[in-house]
């Protein structure tokens, strides 16, 4: 099991995180993503977009709200 935790300074081996310019964090290789309240969310697709602007209505996942607040 590997896990990507928001706010973590170090990721487990095998998890790759890429920041998109003005956009979300693309996370590959994680089984779960932990949100700011500590709740774990299962990763169900090969790559997930994690909200980086804080405005998503379905956190921890990006819902593209950042586009309307640019």
């Amino acid at each position: 099991m590997s896990q990507f935790s928001l706010g973590a300074t170090k990721n487990d081996a095998g998890v790759v995180v890429r920041a998109c310019p003005d956009g979300p964090l693309l996370v590959r290789g994680a089984d779960t993503v932990m949100d700011e309240d500590g709740s774990e969310h299962a990763v169900t697709r090969p790559v997930v977009a994690v909200c980086a602007c804080g405005k998503s209505s379905r956190k921890p996942w990006c819902d593209s709200t950042h586009k309307s607040i640019r």
Partner: protein, 326 residues
Amino acid sequence: MQLPLERGPISRHVIATLANGEEQASPLALGTGAVVDDADTQLALWTIYELHYRGFDGIPADREWDLGLLTLRRDIEARFERELRDGTRDRLVVVPSDGDIGRQLMDLVAADDSPSPAAFLQRRASREQLLDYLRERSVQQLKESDAQSFVLPRLDGPAKAALAELQYDEYGGGRPERLHATLYADALDAAGLDRTYGAYIDDVSALSLACANAMTMFGLNRRLRGAAMGHLAAFEASSSVPSRKIAAGMERVGFPDAVAAYFHEHVEADAVHEHLASSDICGAMVADDPSLRDDVLFGAASCLLLDALSGGELLERWTSGLEQAS
């Protein structure tokens, strides 16, 4: 599926040669009018393309390679592509000619200010108008992502890996019930519509056919692989926010959850896919072969153009006062 009903001389020619079991379609000259919004020509093209997808009941599979049909297809494609190139020139002229292709694609999408049906569907559309939308989009969504799969063997390296990653998600990540085309069929079902592949082919407009046909034209012609992936990038990048609105519209009129579920899935999935398509696929393709840049942008602009034409047509239909009361 059954052969569609003809809509004019060109589709009649195509459907008749298939239905009559001819050895090979005879030559046919196109008229002089535009093809992008011509229902007859678009249906003819859709029918010829369908031979490469799933074919028609009772029609021999080798009609896929009927030289008469392939010749007609090339004639229609040449006209269709020229009209798309002419129609997208204004959108492309404002894009800086160099720089990061991912940024160029995002700028192109951001610059599009065409009226979108999504806001109307969210707030005002009647139940019947929402059903109309589901029917119109069914000709492309019931084979969602299939056109882009034709591009896979034409790519290599990082672009191929990224397209495969994106398609794996589109195809349900190993779970057949999560195939996006199946989610769309489930949505049709839940809304009381027919989930059968091709069920609404006789009902949809020329522009709905054109939207689907553009993807197939780009996907089937290796020469246009850049356009295919640029189209995909624009499609994904202009999907997440509208999907959220459309889901809200479907919920507003009280459809069962499976209807909105299709659109909810696309809020999250396409927020990922737009980055995969623009940076990982198009970025890698252009880095590998800079001559593809113009076609990547052309494909993206074509997607936006067709969406604008099709969306404008639907909005006009829904707001002209002729619509059925909810």
